[in-house]
Structure formats: structure tokens, C-alpha cells
Symmetry: C2
Subunit: 205 residues, 2 copies
DNA sequence: CAAATGCTAACTGTTGACAGTTGCCAGTGG
DNA sequence: CCACTGGCAACTGTCAACAGTTAGCATTTG
């Protein structure tokens, strides 16, 4: 309900009304809230309740940095572990996304997230996958604070292709470089959609 | 209580007896269990209860890989952001650890964890810090499955020094290389303490 | 008129009790 | 003697009610 926007960002979660809507008691609901707290989707204030988390610009930048840490490492692992079939599967996935996008001009981020999560999954590290999924959830929540901007689809797909090509050549350096700039672009796009610019005086390298 | 071993690894958490010991009711205890579940310290089985999580060898290797992803990225960020004072503080910290170790031959891992967490904190990314702390908690729980092995203290300290020296020279490549081998050694040491070896046929680079 | 104070309603924090499920053990039949 | 079944005890899942706190509003006072 949080990720779909059914409960708006920043809103308080009223335990009694929500438990009545869901048809459960307050006990299980409070347990669920604690789980969401662990996932970073709500912030709990003592005696005040649980609020759907809001993100400052700095926090969004931090999350993209975290994404970079996780996904760049996944890339490094993939260069050593990915089988030919894995890579061809990724290619097929990209083609399907392209055809789906051509038919239906809507929805740009879900396939993007699918690609990245597939990439991380192929690294074969469950702990890494869990953290990446968590980070994506937080980022999708942060992005939902702005109106959807369906821009940046074609360029993203092109960058995905470049990543897979680098992986096929087992070129770690190229793959990580492309992924890093890809995430930089995604961050800037997200921040632009949210209104303002970044601070970072550090994109020379 | 889990991290200190007061509740042994693999044990079931009896809600009624534990809530009686802690002087609280089962409701808050169940909420706490859900939080621990989010932190990956317990696994909850429906109608069976919460069990202090046990780790397979593969999962421990995955956790060290996750550590590498987070801490190597922290190193990269530090090379750009760390001030001279930050680095001198790290140096002082290492010296204090050495003198403390010379006086008291016990306790090897806590200062190690302190150093790494300090390193990550200096990167100035709260999301990164949170995940690193979580991973360290899981690893300390995994290590607690074996008897403490206070070996490997001097070499670890030496490697810490080498990391700081590389950071002072702003040599990203050297710093990440040292950190990577440091974590490799830590992993092998932990696995050895737990009984058996790793599988990885991939430590040539 | 403005600031401080007391009151009230709404909500969270916690508790104890009830219902449903699981695992174990004795008893029974092959 | 072994496998199976029925019953039982312990425990988890859930609920409704009570206590304590917070925020807002009306009232009072300088």
C-alpha cells in the first residue's frame, strides 16, 4: 500500500482505522509496522505513530550511492561467474522490454528495476539481492514523491545494452564504468523530477 | 541477548518465558522479534516460532562479499572526501588499539569492527553505514557459532595501517586492493575457525 | 491582545485472555 | 517388535479492553 501510493508519502498510519480496513487487529498490524520500519519504509516516533518515510535530497543521493556499491560489486562478480546463457537471457530480456515499450509508451521504471535486479540475482549472492531489493524499494518510494516522468527510457535501455556487451567481453573496467555513469544519469534524472539539482562537485573522474 | 550469546544460536525464542524474564508482555516482544527478523538475526517459521538464525558456509561467504561491496565503495568515497583530520583520527585510533592489545591479550574482533565501521562512517553516507552495521551484526552472529579464535590480530592491524596509508596517498587502487585482500583474509580466518574451508576457485586476481 | 494554562479527545503502548496449530507420547493393532 | 492413530500439552496467532501520552482547543490572566 505504501509502494503503490495508496498510503501517501508522509502520511501517518492510523492503527485503529487501518486495522479496521484490513480486517485484522492492531497487534498484527503493529508487527507489520515494525517490519516496514526495518525495511526503511516508515519512521516510528514514540507515542506519535508510524509515518510513511520522506526523503531529503541528500538521502536520495546516499541511496543511489548505496545502489552503486551493491550493483557495481554485482557487476564485478558477474564478470567472473556469469555463464553464456545468463548473458543471452539478459539480452532477450532487454529485447522484450524494447518491444513492450514500443507498443505501450507508458511505464518506464519497472522494467529498469527488473533489469537491475536480474543482474544482481545472477551474481548468486542472496544477501546482496536482499539489500539491493530493499534499496530499490526505498528509491521507488522516494521517487513517488514526485509526478512520474516517463522520460529517459531509450537512453536507459541503450546503457543496459552497453552493460551486457561489456559483460560478454568480460571487460570489468568497461562494465563498471558504464554502470556507474548509468546510475549517475538515473540519479540526476530522479533528482530533476523531484524539483532540484544535486550538489556533487565530483563527477570529473 | 542474541549477539552476546545469551540466547544461543539456533535456539527457539519462547515468547512466554522470555517475556516473563524481560518483564514485558508478549505483544511488544513479538514486535521486537519482527524487527530482529528485518535485521536478519532471527528466522520466523509460521506456528513454530522465531529461531536465532544459523548460517551455512555459503551464506557466510555471501556476507563477506556484501561487506566487500559496502566497504570497498566506502574506500572509494573516502579517497575523494576524507579530510586530513579524518585520517589522522584513524591513525590515532589504530595506535590506541595497539596499546590496548599489548596490555590485554584478549578481545580481537571488537576493535576490528570499530575500525571498519569508523571507516564507513567517514564516507558520510547514512544508508551505507546502516547496511554495514547490519552486515557486521550478522557476521558476528555467524562467527559466534564457533569458539572465539583470538588469532590474526597483529596481521589485521598491519593491514589496517596499510589501508590508512593508501588513503593518505589518495591511492584508490592500492586502498581497495589492500581492503579486498584484508577481507579475504578475514573470511578465511572466520571459515577456518568454523571448521572447514571455502570453495572459491577464484582468488587469482 | 497575547501568552500561558488547564482540559478534553484521539491515539499509541501494553496487557491478559481466548482460539487454533504443532509436536510429542501413550496406546493400539498388525 | 514396529507402524499407526488418538489425545494431550505447549506454544503461537489474534483479539478486545485498559492505561498513559500527546496534540489541539478553549479559557484565563497579565
Amino acid at each position: 500500500m505504501i509502494l503503490t501510493g495508496e498510503i501517501p508519502v508522509g502520511a501517518r498510519i492510523n492503527e485503529v482505522t487501518l486495522s479496521a480496513e484490513l480486517g485484522v487487529s492492531r497487534g498484527p498490524l503493529r508487527e507489520a509496522v515494525q517490519r516496514l520500519r526495518g525495511e526503511g519504509l516508515v519512521t516510528v516516533i514514540s507515542h506519535r505513530g508510524a509515518f510513511v518515510r520522506t526523503f531529503e535530497v541528500d538521502e536520495i543521493i546516499d541511496l543511489y550511492e548505496l545502489r552503486a556499491a551493491l550493483e557495481l560489486h554485482a557487476i564485478r562478480l558477474l564478470c567472473r561467474r556469469a555463464s553464456a546463457k545468463d548473458l543471452s537471457d539478459l539480452d532477450e530480456m532487454l529485447l522484450q522490454t524494447e518491444t513492450a515499450m514500443r507498443a505501450d509508451g507508458d511505464r518506464v521504471y519497472p522494467p529498469d528495476m527488473d533489469f537491475h535486479m536480474r543482474l544482481v540475482s545472477l551474481a548468486g549472492n542472496q544477501a546482496l539481492v536482499a539489500r539491493a531489493l530493499e534499496t530499490h524499494h526505498q528509491l521507488s518510494l522516494a521517487r513517488s514523491m514526485s509526478a512520474r516522468s516517463p522520460v529517459r527510457a531509450q537512453t536507459a535501455i541503450a546503457e543496459h545494452h552497453a552493460i551486457v556487451e561489456s559483460l560478454k567481453r568480460q571487460d570489468v573496467h568497461a562494465a563498471t564504468d558504464v554502470m556507474e555513469s548509468h546510475l549517475d544519469h538515473a540519479r540526476e534524472s530522479a533528482l530533476a523530477a523531484l524539483g532540484l539539482k544535486a550538489r556533487d562537485p565530483e563527477l570529473s573522474a
